[in-house]
């Protein structure tokens, strides 16, 4: 290595520079590997403990002197429970509570159980800005708990704390949709949901929850509240401006303030429209179960148009195909579970959870459908075939009804009974017809019957008509969402409409294009062919396959919008959250 001083100028700051030259040091010895490895070794030595031994008492936690006044003096009595109280006058928006909760509960890197939103409003001369710290409200009627299909939530009878049993959770995430406050958080890595338990272990030994301990301004405290008071307050809607309706779950958190919020107080994220998580396995599951149920029903209805000899072989083919789609749907639904190996636990919540009911209903549907399909092959002529077929249809419809109720339960306007029922039922109709059509064409190709050409053209006419009507009705219904764009108020449905023409514009366009193509243009084309009678079987086969695909893709996209464009209720959020 070159000696560094050879080409170095004199670095003395003296006017008589020549007097003070740098000492020439042998560079190779001074920064040789030895010195560097010595420094690297030193860097690895941790000596803080040796040098700075600390003496601490092992009794009462030292922070207790700050937080003891923020805890209730006595535990809750009859008709009472613990609740968070947030003094908004003292919440400055520092968000120390969020990080303290994260650190003191040992959460994973991205995980937070508390959040701080912002309310803004007021006039030009008197604007307001109010930060709001919020976590689980430990509701009297927790949406998460009612929704949970595996009873992984418990509300402590004494403290009222809503606790999540992590080992019981199978990761269906239904609670994340059912909670109006966006409290339960799904942890994809672990395949379960986790949430705030008001640091119940700390409270049990007289310590304050992490957030209470950490707020520099003592804005968060634990109070004992009367349950009746919570109900009364919810009746008068005294919860927090711009927060979801407390009637849904009866949240116990009390936000107190000496300030008067102006009437135009809104969350800082009020105008931000962000697509929600689409839940792809659920999209596939919903669309394919509805297809399957629809196909069974349309198939049964169609049988009256078929002559006796064709019925059995058609039924055999069609039942198998409809069953295939149904089973595919159920397989897809397990992909949605964080821990599918515990899927069997879903029966536990039958008494209260629509998800449990859906799983059970579709379980029975799948069983009956299997039986039905098996009989179609093994004993095609047995007399109870039609009634077995209709019981498949019945259980299927029950399943679809449970699917509908899962979303209706969340109280979101985009998932209202009308919205959801119309969409789910019409999906069943559209795809049921399309799938049946495909079965007919398949049947036509495999079965070597001279008469089939005639009878399929007759059926084609009916199917095309049905498909066009169902699809047109569905598209018009979906399109009618955009009327909300003209409402002045930023209603949840306007938000959905904005999402569809904004961030989700591509999917929206594709959805309508597929719908129009598969459900209207192609059936019209086929109708034209049938009436002019100049088609051959093979191109029609391809056309119907394309029609089916277009309809299916269109419905999948509609269901994608169903999740992604749903404006979820939540607590006031942060700026551009």
């Amino acid at each position: 290595m070159e000696t560094a001083s050879t080409n170095r100028p004199d670095v003395s700051h003296s006017p008589h520079r020549e007097e003070t030259l740098l000492p020439i040091v042998d560079l190779s010895s001074s920064i040789g590997p030895d010195f560097i490895s010595q420094l690297l070794r030193e860097q690895r030595q941790l000596t803080a403990v040796e040098q700075f031994s600390q003496v601490h008492g092992n009794g009462v936690p030292s922070q207790a002197k700050y937080y003891s006044k923020l805890l209730p003096a006595t535990p809750p009595g009859d008709g009472q429970q613990y609740a968070f109280e947030v003094d908004l006058d003292r919440c400055s928006g520092c968000k120390a509570c969020v990080t303290a909760c994260h650190s003191l509960n040992g959460l994973d890197d991205h995980e937070t159980w508390r959040d701080v939103g912002l309310l803004v409003g007021g006039t030009a001369t008197k604007p307001i800005m109010q930060h709001v710290t919020t976590a689980c409200h430990h509701c009297l009627e927790p949406g998460c708990m009612s929704a949970c299909p595996v009873n992984a939530y418990e509300k402590d009878p004494v403290t009222g704390i809503v606790k999540h049993l992590d080992d019981q959770c199978f990761g269906c995430q239904y609670c994340t949709l059912a909670c109006p406050y966006d409290v339960p958080k799904y942890h994809a890595g672990k395949g379960i949901v986790r949430k705030c338990d008001m640091c119940s272990d700390r409270l049990a030994v007289g310590e304050a929850p992490a957030c209470v301990q950490a707020c520099p301004h003592e804005a968060i405290s634990i109070k004992v509240v009367d349950r009746q008071q919570v109900i009364d307050d919810a009746e008068a809607d005294h919860f927090l401006p711009a927060a979801p309706d407390p009637q849904i779950t009866l949240p116990t958190t009390r936000f107190k303030t000496s300030r008067v919020f102006p009437r135009n107080t809104l969350p800082a994220d009020y105008h931000s429209v962000n697509p929600q998580h689409p839940h792809w396995p659920l999209i596939v599951m919903l669309v394919l179960t509805q297809l399957s149920v629809g196909a069974f029903i349309v198939g049964l209805l169609l049988e009256s148009l078929l002559d006796g000899s064709s019925v059995e072989s058609f039924r055999r083919l069609h039942a198998t195909s409809a069953l295939g789609f149904g089973l595919l749907a159920l397989a897809a639904s397990t992909m949605h579970l964080g821990r599918p190996q515990y899927a069997f636990r879903a029966v536990l919540g039958l008494g209260h959870s629509w998800l449990s009911r859906e799983i059970v209903a579709f379980g029975i549907f799948a069983g009956t459908a299997c039986l039905y399909a098996a009989f179609c092959w093994l004993s095609p002529t047995s007399s109870f075939q039609p009634s077995l077929g209709w019981s498949v249809a019945g259980t299927g419809l029950l399943g679809v009804f449970c699917s509908i109720m899962i979303y209706v339960f969340t109280g979101r306007e985009f998932w209202s009974f009308g919205q959801t029922t119309t969409k789910f039922m019409l999906t069943g109709a559209v795809l049921g017809v399309a799938a049946t059509w495909l079965s007919i064409l398949l049947f036509e190709t495999v079965a070597d019957q001279p008469t089939h050409g005639l009878f399929t053209s007759h059926i084609t006419f009916r199917l095309a008509q049905a498909l066009i009507i169902a699809m047109a009705a569905k598209l018009i219904f979906e399109f009618s969402l955009f009327r909300h764009l003209f409402t002045r108020r930023m209603s949840p449905l306007k938000r959905s409409a904005q999402l569809e023409i904004g961030p989700l514009f591509g999917a929206t366009t594709a959805r309508f294009a597929c719908g129009v193509l598969g459900g209207i243009v192609m059936p019209l084309f086929l109708l034209n062919e049938v009436t002019s009678d100049r088609s051959t079987a093979i191109p029609r086969m391809i056309t119907v396959a394309m029609l089916f695909t277009a309809c299916l893709v269109g419905e999948l996209l509609e269901r994608y919008q169903f999740f992604a464009a749903c404006a979820s209720p939540r607590m006031p959020g942060r700026l551009n959250a």
């Binding site: 070159e2 560094a4 080409n7 170095r8 100028p9 670095v11 700051h13 007097e19 003070t20 740098l22 020439i24 040091v25 560079l27 001074s30 920064i31 560097i36 420094l39 860097q43 803080a48 040098q51 700075f52 600390q54 601490h56 092992n58 936690p61 030292s62 002197k65 003292r90 400055s92 520092c94 968000k95 120390a96 990080t99 303290a100 994260h102 509960n105 040992g106 890197d109 991205h110 701080v116 803004v120 030009a124 800005m129 930060h131 009873n151 992590d166 080992d167 672990k190 986790r194 640091c199 700390r202 310590e207 301990q213 707020c215 520099p216 105008h271 636990r345 700026l575 551009n576 959250a577």
Partner: protein
């Protein structure tokens, strides 16, 4: 049998198990209360935080000497058991994959490639040596920081100036505290913030100027909230901030009209006889001239310039008069201004003329920015010679030469160029080599495009940082990987002059070395290792600095060392030899004596100057910049490394603009907008709000893009950049 039954039942309904155990809490001992089992400590140690100048103490939880978690220290007189989100997440950011773990040298293809330390250091020495040989010793300069321990800053300053012959070196403290430094130096005779944080709790009137304390210093706001006297809180800020929201009087004045307003307040106080003549006579000079000067700041003039009503102004003056313990606090709204020094002194004048200084709950108090801004101000050997001495004073040079046992000729007899002149020197081709340590000018320097253009002109740029990902490191020819806070030792000096200790509780990743050890390496390689023979460890350097400080206002010679500081809960300077430093809260000037030769403080004032860049038809808005949230720090090199902190601030750059302005421009909430100044054009999401006034817009400073717009203008005394006001145009994104 029961066990079997239980395990069958568990399969159906499992109340606990491995997932539940992951979040298990257990008594942490050491006075901690319950802590997560997985990070339960077997020892703890306290150290001061490495972000801002509040200087909170954090109790680090250690498992076999390695930090696993932390909680705020309960008894520390600064933070009293609390911390802001940055402090809580201080350990997380050390784990980032963006940490520099080996030296990186730019290869011929222009890519940064890992090289061994030997090669890195020899390249450093060769390249800087060659530049100095060709262009003179002054052609290599350094940019230091307010984020390193004092011992490292001192080593850097001494090594660069006394060892390597550099003349020019400055710190990023130029961007935050230079104004306060000069204001204090001129007014008090020394850079001496007089207060202690207990003053927040003892005031009955708290005046906050250009400070959003709630977000910028949440723990100081904690102290305000603990004030038992229901204080009047007067917030002087063009914006309605979180702090203004909590004020009893919010004076939303026109940007940079504060100086005129303070002069107007001084006039009212004088006119009404609301001054403390006794104090003025005994402890100040220049009052008569000042009294004469302020007569021109009539109610009408002040009201016109500030946009405030006469009633607001008089109410403010009356509140100061009626207060028994009035404290004035200022931050960047004052410091980062084209006339910051005189504005700060206008505040100081109010404190002096009302005798609100040297008593509990009073003071003209600059709230510092960085964790060790004060250490940098006193010991970085940049603007002043080690220990608050003067390079141009031969006695001071002699003293320091003797303390360091070096030839006095090694100490430059002239002052270093300030930051912006160093940049100008590069532009003019006088400075060819630059060593940037622990700061990120390519993001933070005003008029960013020009700054980057200037940095690109360098023959050799060395960046020494924890992260290889900083905007400046990405431009470097050589990156030296540094250990960060928590991975090294030393002391910080906080805003209230309190010295606190940092400790080594984590192993630095890869081959990263503490800045201190990098300086040792450079000293040896440069051939001046002998000069720094005594500089063997931060603790040893602390002893050197004690000797440097002897006899200065910032005398710390009475402190033994780190153990004493640690045990005492931090120690405020001064601590002269023999003084018992046990009092935890001390303020300066209790005897009414200041550091000028005559023992008096000076009234200093100037005619206010209008904004250097006025708004016009094309750029009709005034751009204000500032802290965006409590979870972001400066250029975010560290805070963006924590997933939790990232969640706590906006994902996009947000432009706050007045609702009326948004309406007239047809800008809807959350819409993308262009913001354009003469320097550049950037995009942001619009947030129409009444919190900013018409004709003004606000951008957080943490986003890289913001400084593309700012206008490089500087205070004439402190040379601090005026980040807070430039003219911009706003338009819909098309």
């Amino acid at each position: 049998m029961n066990a079997l039954l239980q395990s069958v039942l568990d399969i159906v309904h499992q109340r606990s198990g491995p997932l539940t155990r992951e979040l298990l809490l257990e008594p942490g001992e050491f006075g901690l209360g319950q802590v997560p089992s997985k990070s339960k400590p077997n020892s703890t140690t306290d150290m001061v935080c490495g972000y801002c100048a509040t200087g909170c103490s954090l109790r680090v939880h250690l498992q076999d000497d390695v930090a696993t978690n932390l909680t705020p220290a309960t008894e520390y007189p600064v933070n009293l058991g609390m911390a802001c989100p940055k402090g809580w997440e201080a350990l997380t950011v050390l784990n980032s994959p963006e940490r520099a773990t080996t030296p990186l040298l730019r290869d011929e293809a222009g890519r940064l490639r890992p090289v061994p330390w030997e090669q890195a250091i020899s390249t450093f020495v060769d390249r800087f040596g060659q530049i100095q040989a060709a262009h003179g010793a002054e052609s290599v300069a350094f940019l230091s920081t307010g984020q390193m321990p004092t011992e490292e800053m001192a080593f850097l300053g001494a090594l660069a100036k006394f060892g390597m012959g550099m003349l020019h070196g400055d710190g990023n403290t130029r961007q935050c505290m230079a104004t306060a430094v000069v204001a204090y130096k001129q007014a008090f005779g020394f850079d001496a913030p007089p207060y202690t944080y207990a003053d927040f709790e003892e005031s009955d009137v708290i005046v906050l100027v250009g400070s959003n304390l709630c977000l910028t210093h949440p723990i100081m706001w904690e102290r305000v909230m603990r004030n038992p006297h229901s204080p009047e809180i007067i917030v002087i800020d063009p914006r309605m901030t979180e702090t203004a929201m909590n004020a009893t009087q919010h004076l939303a004045l026109t940007p940079k009209s504060d100086q005129s307003m303070f002069y107007g307040i001084a006039r009212i106080l004088i006119e009404q006889g609301w001054v403390n003549s006794e104090y003025i006579d005994q402890s100040t000079t220049g009052f008569d001239e000042f009294a004469k000067f302020v007569t021109q700041f009539t109610d009408e003039r002040v009201a016109t310039e500030s946009g405030l009503s006469v009633e607001q102004i008089h109410r403010f003056a009356r509140t100061i008069h009626e207060g028994e313990r009035v404290s004035f606090w200022w931050t960047m709204g004052v410091n980062q201004s084209h006339q910051g020094v005189r504005t700060a002194q206008a505040i100081i004048n109010l404190a002096l003329m009302t005798g609100n200084i040297g008593r509990p709950g009073t003071g003209a108090n600059s709230i510092t920015g960085q964790c060790n801004a004060m250490g940098s101000r006193l010991f970085s050997n940049t603007t002043n010679l080690l220990g608050g001495h003067d390079f141009t004073n031969p006695d001071h040079r002699e003293k320091i030469a003797k303390v360091l046992d070096i030839d006095v000729s090694r100490i430059p007899s002239e002052n270093s160029l300030p930051y912006h002149k160093i940049m100008e020197g590069i532009l003019r081709g006088k400075i060819k080599g630059l060593w940037v340590i622990c700061t990120n000018p390519a993001h933070s320097w005003i008029n960013q495009k020009q700054c980057r253009d200037i940095l690109e002109r360098l023959d050799f740029l060395v960046v020494q940082d924890m992260y290889h990902s900083t905007e400046t490191a990405q431009m470097a020819d050589l990156v030296l990987p540094a250990a960060g806070w928590g991975e090294k030792e030393g002391t910080f000096i906080n805003s209230e002059r309190r010295i606190g200790v940092i400790k080594k509780v984590r192993r630095a990743p890869g081959e990263a070395l503490s800045d201190f050890n990098i300086f040792r390496l450079v000293a040896n390689a440069w051939g001046c290792g002998d000069l720094f023979a005594e500089w063997s460890s931060p603790a040893a350097v602390f002893q050197i600095l004690k000797r440097c400080s002897l006899g200065q206002p910032c005398d710390i010679s009475g402190i033994d060392g780190y153990q004493q500081i640690d045990a005492a809960g931090g120690i405020q300077w001064p601590v002269t030899t023999g003084r018992d430093p046990v009092e935890q809260e001390r303020r300066l000037f209790e005897d009414g004596r200041f550091y000028h030769a005559d023992g008096r403080a000076k009234f200093l004032f100037d005619e206010p100057r209008s904004l250097p860049e006025q708004t016009n038809e094309r750029y009709p808005f005034l751009l204000l910049t500032g802290r965006g949230s409590a979870s972001q720090w400066h250029t975010q090199t560290r805070t963006k490394q924590s997933a939790v902190l990232r969640k706590l601030y906006p994902e996009n750059l947000i432009l706050e603009l007045n609702r009326g302005d948004a309406d007239s421009l047809g800008i809807r909430p959350n819409e993308s907008v262009w913001i354009e100044s003469q320097r550049g054009r950037i995009m942001a999401k619009a947030f129409p709000t009444n919190a900013v006034q018409r004709g003004q817009v606000f951008l957080p400073m943490h986003e890289e893009a913001t400084n593309e717009l700012t206008f490089a203008v500087f205070d004439p005394y402190s040379h601090q950049p005026a980040y807070k006001s430039c003219a911009v145009g706003v338009s819909r994104f098309t």
